[in-house]
Amino acid sequence: MSTKNTHIPEWLTVPFAGITPAPSQEKGQDLFPTGNWRSIRPVYRDKLPPCNNACGTNEKIQGYLDLVKRGKYLDAYALIKEDMPFPSVTGRVCYHPCEQACNRGKYDEAISIRAVERFLGDLGQALTNDVVKPGKPNGKKVAVVGSGPAGHSAAYQLARLGYKVTIFEKSPKAGGLNRGGIPDWVLPQNVLDREIERLEQLGITIKTGVEVGKDVTWDSLKKDYDACVLAVGLTEPNSVKAEGEDKNGVVYGLPFLRDIGMGTSKVKLGARVAVIGGGNTAIDCAREALRQGAAEVTMITVEGNANEMPASPEDLHDMLEEGVELMHGRAVTAVLGNGKVEALQLHKARFQGAINASPITVDREAPSERFAVDNVIIAVGQHASLNWLPAEFKNERGTIKMDKFGRLGNTNFFAAGDIAQVGSGQPLMVVNAVGDGKRVAFNLDKVVRGEKLEPRTIPVDVIFDLNRMNMTYFPHFPRIQQEMLPTKTRTKTQDEVIQPFTEEQAVEEANRCFSCGTCNACDNCYLVCPEPCIARPERSNGMYKILVDYCKGCRVCIEECPTGCLEGVPELDFDTGVVRMDTAFAISPGLHGRQAQELKNLGDRAPKNI
């Protein structure tokens, strides 16, 4: 066929046999950019691992586990500190929703994330200077009421944003629930003291012994500060509404723990102690009672069996190991005794609804039981004390009236923590309060800077399905259990029950992480590509690049990606890059674009020129 009078585009005037360009490691064999064979393009798209999603403060758990397994502990600690001001505390007390969500739980056993967090937290505690620095001062003053988890978190984030923060704390020592609600054998006081020291190093002023409404009023907060975070928590214990509840020897769960924590406890427990309630605080109270000298501790719950109790199964197991008895399906109807409690009157009872917060039906027709005790600890939840709050911001449920950003009306006041989350359906736990404090701090910053508050609208792709990953790359490995003090002796002391991970154990445990949906530089795609068209200037997370000029779209890399971070996207979804056409000739990468342009321009060209 003659090519006379035929337009030969520039990209077709390639040298032919004998003088073809040699291939090079940098450019490949660029006479043949085979990318135009492709109909599906592999794309690296990181998904959110379920642990990050489940965490109350969205810690980048996969991220720090990945750093730990590479031995970069300080980086891992810095990463955790972005979302969590006190990993040494949550590494001990957290009820780890991350571990419940862990995909590894569906495969063998969930990763012991909390233990690794504690390892990092303890590492951070040992540092002379913290890795976190205060932000550039912006001249704004913020008051934070309450130094519990939410207040601590909000103050921490605000200080990092450059605010001048003052914390008001009612108790003589800062720490809130972390100090008052958590016994020493879970969280030693010196660990918390160190974290509060870290907070002060960020330039935060902590004023203890200052009660909102009494020592500092709503109006003075409004006048003296640019904004205010109310993280007062739930301070008032709920009562069981039994007759004679005011008798001597009846104590309430949280104040009982708080007084021991603050060192102001005057309670002297007798030999037989009953704990009313089936939650986590009740469990802590029961275990604390053993350590305060009680010989027999019985836990009385309305729930019909141990599985229904709204408590952490691990803590429940540890409590039973320590010798606490359980008594299910009963409610206290009266506290008997002459001035001092001598016995409890119990009736059969059950919850009306499916959830533990629903009203209780007490079977008063049935004969009552008498249960002899010396002391009663009532731990059936808390409510807020909001006398100081202007009436316009209270709602009918006895909590603060606020919008979904935690803002009170049009004011610069924000509410965070348990006080904001109670009744929202979220379980009240330290990590959720920390997350709330963090989000409120960011919202407050937006309001102060005059930006509009908008809910997050980006859809999050959380990877729950193991089929989206390649499980052949993950051998089964059992979870490493944290060592514990022997059951016999631990109830005699205030020593920490759960022992920390050693460095080897932490690395071993972090190694078990699937890194769900996120590139962790495993090099697998790089190794299996038949072209090979996956470039990797250095072996590092997310540094892999697909040379689209050559990728034929075989999808081997997608299939073999252990973490599921690679996915196939139809080529037609891209409006840049390779366009399929009849010929494969192009002498340099990027020529496809020019070829495509030539083809597009064909329509504009006069027929005689083609």
């Binding site: 032919f16 046999a17 004998g18 073809t20 360009p21 291939p23 090079s24 490691q25 450019k27 490949g28 064999q29 660029d30 006479l31 043949f32 950019p33 085979t34 064979w37 492709r38 397994k69 052949t472 790359y473 993950f474 051998p475 490995f477 190694n511 078990r512 495993c522 090099d523 697998n524 790089y526 190794l527 299996v528 590509c529 038949p530 072209e531 090979p532 068209c533 072996r539 040379l547 000029d549 050559y550 034929k552 779209g553 075989c554 999808r555 081997v556 997608i558 299939e559 073999e560 252990p562």
Partner: protein, 354 residues
């Protein structure tokens, strides 16, 4: 004239994955003698093998390519994806050509005409060249113990001419030379030639091993062992062919794993010093052959008795490896049991129990 000692390259063995750092690959060599821009099919198994082999060998390498996919598809218009010296040779002369290259380099170094270390000389023959047409010349090269590595990339057929049966095509495999029909329902009646064992038995002074693209680090290490071995070495590497096997392209690596897990491609090494086979390689699980067959269109016509025959074949391979067979796999070797759903379920469960 003073002769110069031949200096050889000694390549370090890579750490095995799945040890210590779980599924992490070790640090891989950085050189890339095989570059993109070749015209093999998407998901090409031989090309995966070629890339891994050349990466393991490094830049001081000479590749010899007898006629086959890796010559035909890769060297059109006199342009190749090989970033190291590469030469084509006739399909029958793979061994003699490679032997010549090796002998020439030894002589040149001896005479001081070539400065530097002795290059890695690798011959990449397809199974057509290695098991049928070029068998004699390869055997000759091994027999004379030239310092080279001869690789048979085993895609179990003549693929570049349009899928014809070779002596490595498995029993039951459909090709254009072995179409299934009323007379021969299984397509191919003959069992494949046991090429690697034949080479080990006939040339016991050579390093001989089998490998699969499903186990890349193992493959790269065997290449390095073969190159480090002073004298001839022979590797037979399983490389799925997407066109001939008729499977979905993403499954290339997966098939390389499954063929080993199903016992159809036993992985072993021949130790030339001790003169014995090393059968210590164990895949993560054992599976019935049906798991492997069902992914491929070339086995689509098989009846229960043919699958049972293949299972019998696989069971013999397991026995050779010294693996105790689970009862389910013995059951699966009987055609009667294969039509029975319960037995099929039992065989399926093997993978979970092992």
């Amino acid at each position: 004239m003073a002769t110069i000692e031949v200096q050889r390259q000694l390549l370090p063995i890579l750490d095995s994955p799945n040890q210590g750092a779980r599924f992490y690959n070790p640090e891989l060599p950085s050189s890339e003698p095989f570059v993109p821009g070749h015209r093999t099919c998407a998901g090409c198994g031989p090309s995966i093998q070629y890339r891994m082999t050349s990466k393991a060998a490094g830049d001081n390498t000479i590749l010899v390519g007898p006629t086959g996919c890796m010559y035909v598809a890769n060297s059109s218009y006199l342009c190749t994806p090989y970033n190291v010296p590469w030469a084509h040779t006739q399909i029958g002369s793979a061994g003699s050509f490679t032997a010549g290259v090796a002998a020439a380099y030894e002589a040149m170094i001896r005479k001081g005409k070539w400065k530097g270390k002795f290059p890695n000389i690798i011959c990449e023959a397809g199974d057509g060249s290695a098991s049928d047409i070029g068998l004699a010349s390869i055997s000759g090269a091994l027999y004379r113990n030239h310092d080279c590595l001869i690789i048979c990339y085993d895609n179990e057929q003549y693929a570049n001419t349009g899928i014809q049966a070779s002596s490595r095509t498995p029993y039951g495999g459909m090709t254009t030379f072995s179409p299934p029909g009323p007379e021969v329902p299984e397509g191919k009646k003959l069992y494949p030639k046991d090429l690697a064992r034949m080479m080990a038995a006939g040339h016991p002074h050579c390093y001989v091993a089998t490998a699969s693209v499903g186990y890349p680090i193992d493959l790269m290490n065997k290449v390095r062992k073969g190159l480090n071995h002073k004298g001839a070495a022979y590797l037979m590497i399983y490389t799925p062919c997407q066109k001939g096997f008729v499977y979905e392209t993403p499954r290339s690596i997966d098939l390389g794993r499954l063929v080993v897990e199903c016992g159809l491609y036993p992985m072993w090494e021949w130790n030339p010093e001790k003169r014995e086979f090393n059968y210590s390689f164990r895949p993560a699980s054992m599976r019935p052959v049906s798991e492997y067959l069902k992914l491929q269109g070339r086995f689509g016509h098989l009846h229960a008795e043919h699958i049972a025959n293949l299972q019998k074949f696989a069971n013999e391979q397991w026995k050779m490896m010294g693996v105790e067979l689970p009862q389910a796999l013995i059951h699966a070797a009987d055609a009667k049991n294969l039509t029975n759903m319960a037995a099929a379920a039992e065989a399926e469960a093997v993978a979970q129990t092992l």
